[in-house]
Amino acid sequence: MHMIVCVKQVPDTTEVRIDPVTNTLDRSSAPAIINPYDSHAVEEAVRIKEMHGGKVTVISMGPPNAIEVIKRCIALGADEGYLLSDRAFAGSDTLATSYILSQGIATISRREPVDLILCGKQAIDGDTAQVGPGIARRLGIPQLTYVNHVAGIDPARKEIKVHRKLDDAYEVVVAKLPCLLTVEKEINELSYSSLPNMLRAVRFEPKILTVADLQADLSMMGLKGSPTSVSKIFAPPQRSGGEICSVEQLVEKLLELHSNEKC
C-alpha cells in the first residue's frame, strides 16, 4: 500500500487577530501549526501501514517554512515528504490548490503508484472542505468524505470499506482503490511519536517540487487559475451588547416572550 497524505500548514485560529483599523488578518500573531485534521489523516495512514505494510508519503503545498509540518508528520511515522513550493502557487483558491496537489500526486505516483490518498475533513483556516473532493475529481478516483472509521482494506480485491459520518447517522461504503478519503478527528487517537521517529524528523529534509517539476499549466494556478476572488474582508458584526438584568427581570422577559410568541 502506498499512501499519500495531504497536509496543510495553518495559523492556529484560536490565536488569529484581526487588525481593527485595516480589517486585515494579522497572521504574524498566530503560530503556524499542522492542520489538526491532517495529523489524524497521517496517524490513520501509519496505522494502515502497520497492518498492511507499505509506505506513507506526505505532501504539502505552501511557503518554504511549511517544511516544519512535514517534519512533524515524519515524527508521527510518515516515511517520505514533499513540499510543493513556488511563487506561482500563491493566491490559489481551492480549484487551483487541488490542481497543484493533484499534479504533485501524479508526479510522485509515476514512480510509485498510489493506492490511497488521505486528506483532513477541512482546514481550520480556509474552512472549505473543498480541496479533497477537488483532488479526487482531477485524478478521477472515488472520494469518501467525512470518514470516521476504516472498517477494512482488502488489498487483493483492491477495496476499502469505511464509515462516513452523516448528520444523524453513518453510512457504510465500499470503494475501489485507489481512492481518496477525508477524515474526521474521531477516526483515531493520535499516538505519541517514537524516539527514532522524532530523531529522524529532526534531520529530515523534504524534497521540494516547483512548477517545473510538476509539468503543470501555469494558467491553472495562482490567481490566474482561481475563479473565486476575495473582494472584501471584515470583522464579524458584533451585537451591540446585551441588556444586563436581574433574575426577576429575566423571568418577566421570558414570560412576556412566552405570551407573545406562543412558544
Binding site: V16, L25, E171, C179, K232, I233, P237, L254, L255
Partner: protein, 345 residues
C-alpha cells in the same frame, strides 16, 4: 433588477437549488435555499429551479413549488437510491451542461459539500463554501457570497466574476424558508439520463442511525447549553439539565464541556459542532469564544449567565445575568415554575 450580460456568460441563466433528500425526506436546508434563491432570482429576473435527484422521490415535487420553485428538474432512478458522489455528480454535471444555470446553491451539509466540491471541479468553476449571506451586485450581475473563515474570526465576501455557474454552499439555519403557498404550481422537467449500476466504483452497504436518543439541536426551539463554568459533571447535570427540563429545551454544550466528558460530542455547539438557531439560547458558564459564537448567531434571543462581567458572551447576548450560576440558575428554575413557566406544548 440586474443588468444583462453579453458574450459567453450570457448563455447561463437561472438560479438552481440542489434538493437534498434521504429516503425521500427533503432536508430543511434545501427549502431554506429555495427561500434564499427566490430573492436572488427576483433580483436577476430569472426563474428559480429545484434539482431533485433520487429513487421514487417524485412525491416531493409539489412541495418544492409551494416553497418557491418555478421549475423542478427531476431525475428519478434506482441507481440514485443512496447518495453517491459518482452518480449524483455525473447527473448534476450533465444537467448543468444541458440547461446552463448562472447560480447553483447547495446546503453546507456533508452531502452538499461533498457534491458541490466534485461538481465545481468538474465544471472548473468557482465555489464559495459555507456561506452565511448571499446577495446580487446588479451592476455587474454577480453573486456576492459572504462567509466566515479563520475559525469565524473574519468574514469574507467572495466573487466568481468570469466563470459560470457561480456556486455556493450555504449553512443550514441561516436562510429563511418562505411560507409555503399551498397549491402553487410549477413546471416539471424530467431529463433522460443514462445510468447503470455496472462499473460504478462505490457501493453503499447501509445507513446506520446513531443509536441513543435522537439529538436534533438544529431544530430545537429552546437550547440550554453549559460550559466549563458549571465546574463538574454534577453541576452540569443539575443546572443545565435542570433548566432544560424546566423550560422544555434541549441540552447542548461548549467544547470545554464536551472535552471534560460532561456531555457527548454530538451535543457540541459551535464551529466544530452544530450550528443552531433556536428561539432562545441559554449560555450557562460559557465565556463566548469566537468558535462558540459562530454556532449560535442565528438564535433569536441569547441569554447569558456568567460571573465575569467582561466575558465576551455578554457582548453577543440579548439578556445577561452577571453572577454565580449556582445561585442564579436554581432561582431562575424556581421562579419560572412559580409563575407557570414557558414550557412549550
Amino acid at each position: 433588477t440586474a443588468i444583462r450580460l453579453t458574450g459567453e456568460l450570457a448563455n447561463y441563466q437561472g438560479v438552481w437549488v440542489f434538493i437534498e433528500q434521504r429516503e425521500g425526506v427533503v432536508a430543511p436546508v434545501s427549502l431554506e435555499l429555495l427561500g434564499a434563491g427566490h430573492q436572488l432570482a427576483k433580483k436577476l429576473d430569472v426563474e428559480l429551479c429545484g434539482v431533485l435527484l433520487g429513487d421514487r422521490v417524485s412525491d416531493s415535487v409539489n412541495m418544492l413549488y409551494e416553497y418557491g420553485a418555478d421549475k423542478v428538474y427531476l431525475v428519478d432512478h434506482p441507481v440514485l437510491h443512496f447518495y453517491r458522489t459518482e452518480t449524483y455528480m455525473k447527473v448534476f454535471v450533465e444537467l448543468v451542461k444541458r440547461y446552463a444555470p448562472e447560480i447553483i446553491l447547495m446546503g453546507a451539509t456533508t452531502t452538499g459539500r461533498d457534491l458541490a466540491g466534485a461538481v465545481a471541479t468538474d465544471l472548473a468553476t468557482g465555489l464559495t463554501a459555507d456561506c452565511t449571506g448571499l446577495d446580487i451586485d446588479g451592476k455587474q450581475r454577480i453573486m456576492l457570497a459572504t462567509r466566515p473563515a479563520f475559525g469565524g474570526n473574519i468574514m469574507a465576501t467572495i466573487l466568481c466574476k468570469n466563470h459560470r455557474p457561480q456556486m455556493a454552499t450555504v449553512r443550514p439555519k441561516v436562510m429563511k424558508m418562505m411560507t409555503p403557498n399551498p397549491g402553487r404550481q410549477g413546471v416539471l422537467v424530467t431529463p433522460e439520463v443514462t445510468l447503470q449500476e455496472d462499473n460504478l466504483l462505490t457501493q453503499v452497504l447501509e445507513i446506520v442511525k446513531e443509536h441513543g436518543e435522537q439529538v436534533n439541536l438544529q431544530e430545537a426551539a429552546i437550547i440550554v447549553a453549559g460550559g466549563r463554568g458549571l465546574g463538574d459533571r454534577a453541576g452540569f447535570q443539575k443546572l443545565c439539565f435542570g433548566l432544560a427540563e424546566a423550560v422544555g429545551g434541549q441540552v447542548g454544550g461548549s467544547r470545554a464541556a464536551v472535552e471534560a466528558g460532561w456531555i457527548e460530542q454530538k451535543y457540541q455547539v459551535g464551529q466544530t459542532g452544530v450550528t443552531v438557531a433556536p428561539k432562545i439560547y441559554f449560555a450557562l458558564g460559557i465565556s463566548g469564544a469566537i468558535q462558540h459564537l459562530v454556532g449560535i448567531r442565528g438564535s433569536d434571543i441569547i441569554i447569558a449567565v456568567n460571573s465575569d462581567p467582561d466575558a465576551p458572551i455578554f457582548k453577543e447576548c440579548t439578556y445577561g445575568v452577571v453572577g454565580d450560576i449556582f445561585t442564579i440558575v436554581p432561582k431562575l428554575i424556581e421562579q419560572l415554575k412559580e409563575k407557570g413557566g414557558i414550557r412549550c406544548a
